[in-house]
């Protein structure tokens, strides 16, 4: 639901890095969006395309890599993926946050964040 701010941050991060390097244009922006990040990838793309207009990113492509969500259960020690409820009533997939092995609440260890990993630029 905060795809706008996420996309704005992706664009700002790429532009800041590009201007620091003094490059001519940015061709690709690689991001990692975690499965548990509560971000809808299609909406991030939509905002990215709107926000890049008229900047060094104008002709750049957003390359999205998904990262699987992983949790750890403090009760039974389970570590691994978690079930995600993909209810069409929502525009994002919701994690259940209960341990698939014992049903107790779990801690997220991976897949909650959104990262800018790499940009491809033309000097």
């Amino acid at each position: 639901m905060h795809e706008f701010s996420a996309a704005q941050w992706i664009v700002d991060t790429a532009l800041r890095e590009a201007s620091r390097l003094g490059v001519r244009e940015v061709r690709e922006v690689h991001v990692v969006i975690g499965e548990l990040s509560l971000l809808n990838v299609e909406q991030v793309r939509f905002w990215f395309d709107v926000l890049k207009e008229g900047s060094m990113l104008q002709s750049s492509k957003l390359v999205v890599e998904r990262r699987e969500g992983r949790v750890r259960c403090p009760y039974c020690g389970y570590e691994g993926p978690i079930e995600v409820v993909d209810d069409p009533a929502y525009h994002i997939a919701f994690p259940t946050l209960t341990c698939p092995s014992c049903g107790m609440p779990v801690k997220i260890v991976e897949g909650r964040d959104c990262l800018v990993k790499q940009i491809v630029v033309v000097k």
């Binding site: 706008f4 996420a6 061709r27 946050l97 964040d113 491809v120 033309v122 000097k123």
Partner: protein, 387 residues
């Protein structure tokens, strides 16, 4: 007494990588000093192991950029009232008495220095100039303009002596380059939240943020808490809303200072918006701040603001599934308020089940039932917050 160049060279004696951050508002006369020095250095050119940042009024927004560069030393350049002649320069240790920063950036530089020393491990110093004029649109005064030239010249010379000599690999014109980054969306906000937390703690102010969906009763809850607590605490209120001031006006009627934050397109408050709101409050005259987020149970969970306690409000009129559908927000909260319990029967909602759902997601959460329209049960919320 050592000259400025000697002091700077000594400070840089064990430097391997240096970040220079220009701080201040170029629209306000001599407050543009820091940024102008950085601009001048860009023209003069610096070795590749020196990073230049025009941070303006928001140096804290560049923490990620600084960390990635891994500087051994960070030099902040800023204007500060120190009782010197206009344009006079001093190299300051952030632990010393810094004089009064006139800068419009509100996170004190001393806090920022302490923070980067701890998190990035860089040594910090502040190069400050005494300003003469700081009015809007005044431009740099003559003595401070000379100060810019002097500062840039001294830094440039010290860099040549201490950090020069590294070879630069430059890409050919038109060549494609892959630039690796490891910037995290959530981490940036978390860093700013930590700055807010430090600033609040420094002023002895407790902050509580209130989350919940639209119409769950967040503002009513705040109004009740303000009434019950205003004799014991000096209270302030930050209202987050997309565009209106309805909530802010409601709480202002209770006689507490209020800052309205309109988020516009954003669906949540973030730490940077709260930092701006805190800058408008006189923290020395407050003990407790309530921060009411935008009505939303999803996004605010991802953006801590730097408060001590988090309350999440749900009401029975939102139906029986509000808790299970929004696990993140309950996972991160200290107190869950179930509001409008007087309507539970009419709504056919089982309040016990809502409470069980919250405790299943977060066994440490304190659940309190209220009817905020009549302030019933609000003492329980106050007790759960430890106020």
């Amino acid at each position: 007494m050592m000259t400025l160049i000697e002091e700077l060279s000594e400070w840089l004696s064990d430097a391997e990588r240096l970040t220079i951050v220009g701080v201040g508002n170029v629209m306000r006369g001599d407050d543009g000093f820091g940024v102008e020095v950085v601009r001048r250095l860009k023209e003069l050119g610096v070795p590749p192991n020196v990073q230049l940042i025009e941070a303006g009024q928001v140096p804290e927004s560049f923490l990620g950029v600084m960390r990635r560069f891994k500087p051994t030393h960070i030099l902040f350049v800023d204007a500060a009232i120190q009782g010197l002649d206009p344009g006079e320069l001093r190299l300051l240790d952030p632990r010393d008495e810094l004089g009064m920063s006139i800068s419009t950036h509100k996170i004190p530089l001393r806090l920022l220095c302490e923070y980067v020393e701890q998190t990035i491990g860089s040594k910090t110093a502040i190069l400050a100039a005494q300003p003469k004029q700081v009015g809007l649109g005044e431009g740099l005064s003559e003595p401070v303009r000379r100060g810019v030239e002097e500062a840039a010249g001294v830094i440039h010379k010290a860099l040549k002596e201490k950090l020069g000599g590294m070879s630069v690999v430059e890409a050919e014109e038109g060549e494609m380059l892959d630039v690796e980054l490891e910037e995290s969306f959530l981490k940036r906000n978390m860093e700013l939240a930590e700055m807010n937390r430090r600033m609040l703690r420094e002023h002895g102010v407790k902050a509580v943020d209130i989350l919940g969906s639209i119409g769950s009763g967040k503002t009513s809850l705040v109004a009740c808490m303000v009434e019950l607590l205003k004799d014991r605490y000096r209270i302030g209120y930050i209202a987050g809303d997309l565009t209106t001031t309805i909530d802010a006006d409601r709480i202002a009627r209770h006689g507490v200072p209020v800052v309205q934050v309109n988020t516009g397109k954003e669906c949540h408050l973030d730490a940077s918006l709260v930092a701006k709101a805190l800058a408008k409050m006189n923290l020395d005259e407050l003990d407790l701040i309530f921060i009411e987020n935008v009505g939303n149970l999803i996004c605010p969970a991802e953006f801590p603001l730097g408060s001590d306690r988090r309350i999440v409000v749900v009401s029975v009129t939102e139906g029986p599934y509000m808790v299970v559908k929004h696990p993140y927000i309950f996972m991160e909260a200290d107190v869950a308020v179930i509001n409008k319990v007087d309507l539970a029967e009419a709504m056919g909602v089982d309040v016990d089940a809502l409470e069980r759902d919250a405790l299943r997601i977060n066994p440490k959460i304190k659940v309190v039932r209220t009817n905020c329209r009549k302030c019933e049960g609000v003492e329980g919320v106050i007790e759960a917050l430890g106020l």
